[in-house]
Amino acid sequence: MIPPGLTASVFSQALAELRRIVGDEWVFTGEDVELYRDAYSPLWGEPDERLASAAVAPERVEQVQRIVRVANAYRLPLYTISTGRNLAYGGSAPVYSGSVVLDLKRMNRILEVSEPNAYALVEPGVSYFDLYRYIRERGLKLWIDTPDPGWGSPVGNALDHGAGYTPLPFRDHLDAHCGMEVVLADGEIVRTGMGALPTARTWQQFRYGIGPFMDGIFSQSNFGIVTKMGFWLYPQPEAFRAGTVKAVKHDDIIPFVEILASLMYSGTVNCHLGISSPVFNGPADAAFDALIATLDGGSAAEWDRYAAAHGKHFWETELHFYGPAKVIEAQWSHVQERFAAIPGIAFADGVSYRFPLTDEQISRVGDRVSLGIPSLGIYAGLLPQRGEPPSTGHMDFSPVLPMTGKAILEAHKVFTRTLREGDIEPKYGIVQSFHWRSFILFYGFPVTHDVETNKKIRATYQKMIRVAADHGWGVYRTHAAFMDSAVSTYSYNDHALHRLHERLKDALDPNGILAAGRYGIWPRHLRQDKPRRGQP
């Protein structure tokens, strides 16, 4: 494959320049480029699958600068990845086919970890496993926060608005960052926040510096290449305890979330949590389908009869508490007092730990990510169960919901109906709290290497984006194949925000060499083909 707009001869010259910068070994062409395919692509094997033309892997920021200058000279489209593990959202493949992947995996230095001030400064190729091992080997009393799975990059995950499982602010990874180094499209290096002060002593401790707070524009965008990023770490807590709250009735979700939100906003509950429904997340039968298909998606009384007939309670959540042992016992006690206002509410004590854990203790921990320990265990939950068709990956559909029970009820019914109309069985559909003050309802769409199956999955995924937007629920993140669709739903005032992104793009990257199409931001010369105002 040759990048669009370049001849084979010019492309060959550009690759020769890249080889001079990084060495022959680190420019990948031919069959090695296949390793940059999105392993979980919903377009696998189809003409629209997003494919790279080559890849280049620098080791130092100076090489990144030289690469972007070559890209400008040749109009070579680049697509930056950090560890390339953004599976379910596009992996290591470009949004714009023919781009050269700028693979930053070799930039894998942990530049600083401060125990007294609880921060780290890392390069994009560092993985959560790398950072965890670094801290563990040195016995530092610090936790990282890791998403699940943990082979991704703290930098890449934060820039895609990813999140993990320990308390806020640490699990909202962009929110827990402090300071960036960015290579702009013209090769200039910028340091944000206090990093702009040549003698800075607080680059990882004060985010704002002076003047406009620029960091956000480098997330979910293509305005620069982040080559360093600071993160706040969680001082190792004394103890952890888990407890589960179960509500019986369909309408219990209203006071359930009201109480939970109050506890979360006031800081008594500060953990990641999922609100699951043994009814809505359980296996469907004919009675389930009949209720969902009704005009209102089933009344509360009808669902309560269904749940009782199946011996199920309606809602549950597991809460985690971190901190001094005495304090978290008091928090759990207070939580139970508050929830006791709901008739029939039930509580169950979960596991508890005192830190630090030994290696032997860690080997017995199942839910590692809640303790800031990276894992790949989540993949076992994605394996096909007996009777399910084999899949080769998944995509996440992830609309943001207000923190109310009413929204959860409505969303479950709306999306369950849409999924069943599309004959799609999601891998999960659970409300979760990752970021401040909102929920995300995650559905896992299995993808395969079968073209017809993937077409069906894509059609429903596309419809879900539209249905969500019609109800006021925008998605927070999406697979590369759906970025245009997702961004087009954020259309207030004739897509004013999207047009602002394009104006920034034109100013910062006039030749459009960086990650064309990422989150719907296309350079001017590719924009005319994109139906920004079209319906997804």
Binding site: R106, R364, G393
Partner: protein
């Protein structure tokens, strides 16, 4: 040639390099690996790389007596489902692997296991992992048999 189309060639290559092929019918061939004579240093490097890159999914499942505890391992669970106990589910317990097959799956993936790029796992480290997983019986620790 598509990546899927390479499977046959890779398996044939495996037969040529380190396995004895035994034709059992017109359509099936069983490959019996011979003990490769990999250097101890290469095997040790492979063991380290295996622990860092593979063991998280393909290790021996270590669950405590409490249900739901102990980390789940997708690769081990998938191979347990595939072979139903006829072959060990943990890769380190297998004695029938060939270096070529190990390398094939790392670079091509299988099911939900994605392939790994060369910046994530170099060819040299992959050679070492293959040497480790295919080491001779005599070089294994008792617990690894």
């Amino acid at each position: 040639m598509t990546r899927t189309g390479w499977i046959g060639l890779v398996v044939l290559a495996a037969a040529a390099s380190c396995c004895e092929a035994r034709q059992v019918s017109s359509s099936w061939t069983i490959f019996e690996p011979q003990a490769p004579n990999a250097a101890p240093a290469l095997i040790r490097r492979g063991e380290i790389a295996y622990e860092e890159r593979c063991d998280l999914c393909h290790g021996r499942v270590t669950r405590s007596a409490t249900p739901g505890f102990g980390v789940r391992m997708a690769g081990t669970e998938a191979l347990q489902a595939k072979y139903g106990g006829h072959k060990p589910a943990a890769l380190e317990d297998r004695t029938d692997l060939t270096p070529e097959l190990v390398k094939y799956y790392v670079r091509h993936g299988a099911g939900i296991m994605p392939f790994l790029r060369k910046t994530e796992l170099s060819d040299a480290d992959l050679d070492a992992i293959a040497a480790y997983l295919c080491r001779s019986r005599s070089s294994r620790k008792p617990s690894q048999e």
